[in-house]
């Protein structure tokens, strides 16, 4: 038999299945990030949503620089004027410039939405991860708290408290919105944590003697991060919607501050006759939330390997995983 190759030293033979050749993926450590970015860019929803959000931010923060009008100062020569070169979005009953007001309101709504989403996501991840990881009484107490806060529609509670906050400004309003916006996310984080806790890499860390808080920070939270990012994105949209609804009914942002909600409230009755008082704010509101939702949906597809965007690929793998 001539076919037998010369004897290979043992370590080399042992190394054999460790050779890098058969693994097709890129070697760069940023491989996953690139994968996610690639998937995101492949989704038209994310691109469109991202572009819209970017433009709206430019509008909200650059808009005031473009117009000579201030959102509060009336132009007595122009009362309830339709949009024109002078007043791009027209003027209201006091002669205030609707463009300046809308841009100002958009600014406030965006900032509130972002802050609320940030705070509520932080709260949800901490509460959820602790409840799920520690289990026992911690879990029972936190779950009861979550259930308790879910008994009432948060709108009712915020409405009741809001008179107390009169005069404290919109930051208190942000805190209030965030305080009633984290519960469902926390529930999801809790159940994800519970299943992560059973995963072998967490067990391995426990058996190595890694401390619980360190495990939560190093292993649990990074592994729910993709859910949290997606959820936070969608929470921005939800927070903006809550903010506008509450402000519309007079329980949120108050004069002299303006938000999209207060603008809508002011313009509602006149909408049939003076549509510019209502539809510019309404349109921007829907556009912004829509863009945010598109991004959120695209992110979910990109970050979650089992999500529907990548499902055809997953399905094709299923029958082949012969084990």
């Amino acid at each position: 038999m001539t076919a037998v190759p010369p004897t290979v030293p043992p370590t080399a033979a042992l190394i054999a299945d460790g050779l890098p050749a058969p693994v097709p993926e890129e070697a760069a450590p940023a491989g996953r990030l690139r994968l996610v970015l690639g998937r995101m860019l492949a989704s038209r929803g994310v691109l469109a949503g991202g572009a819209i959000v970017l433009l709206l931010f430019l509008l909200a923060f650059g808009g005031p620089l473009l117009t000579p009008w201030n959102y509060a100062t009336p132009d007595y020569l122009a009362i309830r004027q339709s949009p024109s070169g002078q007043h791009w979005f027209g003027t209201n009953g006091l002669g205030q410039d609707v463009f300046a007001q809308t841009v100002r309101g958009l600014q406030k709504s965006l900032v509130i939405g972002l802050l609320v989403a940030f705070f509520s996501t932080v709260a949800a991840s901490l509460v959820g991860a602790c409840a799920g990881y520690f289990g026992g009484w911690t879990d029972r107490a936190l779950t009861f708290l979550v259930d308790l806060m879910l008994v009432f529609p948060s709108f009712l509670i915020i409405t009741i408290i809001s008179p107390k906050l009169r005069g404290t400004g919109w930051i208190a309003f942000v805190a209030l919105l965030a305080a009633f916006n984290w519960m469902i996310t926390a529930r999801v984080v809790r159940s994800m944590t519970r299943s992560l806790k059973e995963r072998e890499f967490v067990r391995a860390a426990q058996f190595m003697g890694v401390r619980p808080l360190r495990i939560i920070l190093r292993h649990i939270l990074p592994n729910v991060a993709s859910f949290l990012i997606t959820d936070a994105t969608i929470a921005v949209g939800a927070a903006v919607m809550s903010e506008t609804a509450l402000s519309y009914f007079g329980f949120g942002v108050r004069a002299p501050d303006v938000s999209l909600g207060t603008l809508l409230a002011a313009g509602t009755d006149q909408a049939p006759v003076f549509p510019w008082l209502f539809y510019f704010a309404a349109g921007l509101l829907v556009l912004f939330v829509l863009a945010i939702n598109l991004i959120g949906d695209g992110l979910r597809d990109a970050l979650d390997p089992t999500s529907e965007g990548t499902r055809p690929a997953r399905k094709s793998r299923t029958p082949r995983s012969g084990k």
Binding site: F144, D147, L148, L150, V151, F152, P153, S154, F155, L156, I157, T159, I160, I161, P163, K164, I184, G237, M241, T244, A245, Y248, F249, F251, L264, T268, A271, P272, F278, A282, L285, V286, V289, L290, I292, N293, L294, D297, E308, R311, R314, K315, T318
Partner: protein, 327 residues
């Protein structure tokens, strides 16, 4: 199984008691009925204000726990929810408004769920075709429109239609035409027409949300092993999808049902206010503005009961749909 549901019910009852107490404490401390009386013309004496507040059991000089004791014992023993700030019966107001709200809540949520489930399943089966893309886009736009805005838009549309035609095509205020003559048929038709816009403004949001979720769960099911088994048995694709796929994919919707009711309730508050329905939501906003503590608490109680009942209903539904939960 019965035991399990009984436990759930007990848990919900415990939640209800704690939550109602917290809501009571919150409403009683956050609202200021004293200012309401003090603002009256002519200004009543301090003693008289105190007397009126005490009579209504909303005097902020009485400890909250004591007020809650009085309120809850009246509720438990006599089924009495107290008096409004105008010294009328809360129960009477409650009775007048509850059916108005329930009509809207039930029809709106059920319609949204049914249409959403059907749309989502259909969308999943036709993934990436034109019909799926259109439904997806519509859902996204609806999901991005706050309910109050949707209601306002519908109302503005109805007003525009009225202005264009010259008379009211679709009614947009109230839940019936006052002083309508005619038989029961005419009344029913009138009710249905009045229901149209408020129900739509609630149901469309539900439709969008349910259809997104149903589409997701249905897509999960499409790749499942048991669907493949059903086809391997000799069922055609469509029958397998309907009988084995959809049946399993609607199970998670029962959980959605519980969560969505929170949103539906809030939405109904807006809808009632905008369409001039004298329901619980409108009452709530009114009561907040009048510092009417007992009415606010009554609406809170109603909300809590409705939300928890929907949670319990979701449990029942889940157990009915999924044998794995039952055992």
């Amino acid at each position: 199984m019965i035991r399990y549901l009984a436990k759930r019910l007990a848990y919900y009852a415990a939640l209800l008691v704690v939550a109602v107490f917290l809501a009571y404490a919150l409403s009683s401390t956050a609202l200021g009925p004293r200012t309401y009386f003090e603002a009256k013309q002519p200004r009543p004496s301090a003693a008289s204000v105190d007397r009126q507040l005490t009579a209504l059991n909303i005097n902020d000089h009485t400890p909250v726990v004591e007020r809650f004791g009085t309120w809850s014992s009246d509720l438990v023993l006599h089924g009495d929810l107290g008096r409004t700030i105008h010294n009328t019966s809360v129960n009477a107001e409650f009775g007048r408004r509850i059916l108005v709200s329930l009509r809207l809540l039930l029809i709106g949520s059920l319609l949204g769920m049914l249409l959403g489930v059907a749309g989502g399943a259909w969308s999943a089966i036709r993934q990436y075709r034109i019909s799926d893309r259109v439904l997806t886009l519509v859902s996204f736009v609806l999901l991005s429109t706050p309910v109050f805005l949707l209601a306002l838009l519908l109302k503005n549309g109805a007003i525009a239609a009225k202005d264009a035609v010259g008379h009211e095509v679709i009614p947009f205020t109230g839940y019936e035409t006052p002083g309508l003559s005619g038989g029961i048929g005419a009344h029913l038709g009138d009710w249905a027409l009045h229901l149209l816009l408020p129900t739509l403004s609630l149901a469309l949001g539900g439709l969008a949300m349910y259809s997104r979720y149903q589409r997701g769960t249905m897509l999960d099911v499409l790749g499942s092993d048991y669907l493949r088994t059903a086809e391997a048995k000799g069922l055609t694709r469509n029958r397998a999808l309907l009988k084995h796929g959809l049946r399993t994919a609607i199970i998670p919707m029962s959980t959605m049902f519980a969560y969505s009711f929170l949103g539906i309730f809030t939405g109904a508050t807006f809808t009632e206010t905008i369409f001039g329905w004298h329901g619980m939501g409108e009452w709530f906003i009114q009561a907040i503005n009048e510092q009417d503590v007992n009415s606010v608490i009554a609406v809170n109680l109603f909300a809590a009961v409705v939300v928890l009942a929907s949670g319990f209903l979701a449990d029942l539904l889940n157990a009915a749909l999924d044998p794995r939960v039952r055992s």
